[in-house]
Subunit: 211 residues, 3 copies
């Protein structure tokens, strides 16, 4: 990660903070937890996807165990959510935007790291998506909800798209930080469009989605 521009690092940290905040907010909204539970759930949401990716790549201990900045900023996000709680509802839109940034950077970085480890292209796309949605999936399982990634294509499809652009850029040998930004932007816009227009992936033939 040494040579990456500050912009990507800033996005990565912003995304981690947003994931931490979002995980903690989910905790506050769905189940009443004390501060330990709220911070724990924030950390798991923010760091879980990267940890699952690193376990699957065999890059252990996971990267987030080496770089304390991620742990710190995820905990900071969760702590803000714990303090402000429902008053954050007013800025819910901005949290959603930050969360989409996190999803995008995680998908691109996840796919890129998988390629660095010599993983094939299809698997790298999947690992990128796993990095992006893994933390939220752990969060949902822990609070007893069916993971968002299973219920709506809104999460997985943008992540798969961002990871795919990354892998294609790598195959064309044009992957560098501008390509990473393009890939992340594709994921970001797709995610926001999905939220805005309530897009969904196709449902099984003959079934209707619940309202």
């Amino acid at each position: 990660m040494g040579g990456e521009p500050l912009l990507l690092l800033a996005l990565d940290l912003a995304g981690t903070c947003a994931f931490g905040l979002n995980g903690a907010l989910t905790a506050l909204r769905t189940v009443l937890l004390d501060i330990v539970g709220v911070i724990t759930l924030g950390l798991i949401t923010a760091l879980g996807g990267g940890i699952i990716r690193d376990v699957l790549l065999g890059d252990l201990p996971p990267a987030t165990f080496h770089d304390l900045r991620y742990l710190a900023i995820a905990a900071a996000g969760a702590f803000i959510a714990f303090l402000l709680g429902r008053r954050l509802d007013r800025i819910a839109k901005w949290i959603l935007v930050l969360d989409a940034a996190g999803l995008s950077v995680f998908a691109v970085n996840g796919a890129s790291k998988a390629l660095d480890f010599g993983i094939g292209p299809v698997q790298a796309v999947i690992l990128g998506a796993v990095t992006a949605v893994g933390g939220g999936t752990l969060r949902d399982v822990l609070i007893g909800q069916i993971p968002s990634v299973l219920r709506t294509g809104l999460y997985a499809v943008p992540a798969l798209a961002g990871a795919s652009v990354t892998v294609i850029a790598d195959a064309l040998e044009v992957y560098s930080w501008p390509a990473a930004l393009v890939a992340a932007t594709a994921c970001f816009l797709l995610r926001l469009a999905g939220v805005r227009f309530r897009l969904n992936a196709p449902s099984p033939p003959g079934m209707r989605r619940p309202a």
Copy 2:
């Protein structure tokens, strides 16, 4: 896996396909998911057990990340389930048979791979069973159900039996593909007998199982 006969490979792929199909069908039956959710759940059911095994053995990235055939056939099974849905109820018996084949081959291959990594016999039996039931357990956790392996001995006992035969054959130095077939057949018949006669493992003294 180089020298193994086509028959074992075919069974392994058939089992993977059946697990993918079964996981996707479970998704369709219990919760309404879109195509991303159905395929995701099918993949996790089919590949999850092997991935857990490889994580525990430290053989990373997991084998399913090297061999795209498993990913492809698991996705194919899940996609068939997505397209046909409840119309597959008519061939439910055959899916159950394929699923039992998957359980059997996974248990035997899992135990055999664990022995290759120098794991002790008791642990190899456990890892074989984990390989066989791990994917279904992840599936059940993700859709908010208590895993089948906890609720009924019908899954774990045949898997433990198949893995045990594998480990015993290895200890007697007669393990080869015919022994693998015997071990898988033992698991397969036990599983089908369990389904047919509704066999169960003993319940706690003084308690009756729910109907």
Copy 3:
């Protein structure tokens, strides 16, 4: 673990047995499971935390796969719970004390092992706590309950305290088995005090905990 005194080993095994017993009792109390389910849940409760720690440290296969004593004593604890069931309610206090011993030794051993692998101090504290509460968390997820560690600070705070004392002793270069006993005792007393006086970590401002 070669040079550790018998006392620490005995506590570790006693804690493992208590965790196995406790996991199995939880299974019996919340859901009706057969013997396979009860033993499985006991094993996961007793060994899950250490396995998660070893996966994150990349020390694979996990230590519990090398040393059959842990597997055996966890299974023994679970089997006792299966046989005696609710009659164990009479000695519930003693099980709680053993369980607190397990939490304490797991937190200290987990943090100590993390330091041995060159993990930073903050991360070692977290890994110690993960070792202590990981098994119970897996158990709760598998039976569809929100993990205790999220619902009450009673578990995580003592584990974090015990792991912190361990890490501080290591930083001061005075870590040895007496320091380990001090760290474990700190966790143990905090846990028992928490249970006795129903202490809790702070709740979000403006919210009250459910009764």
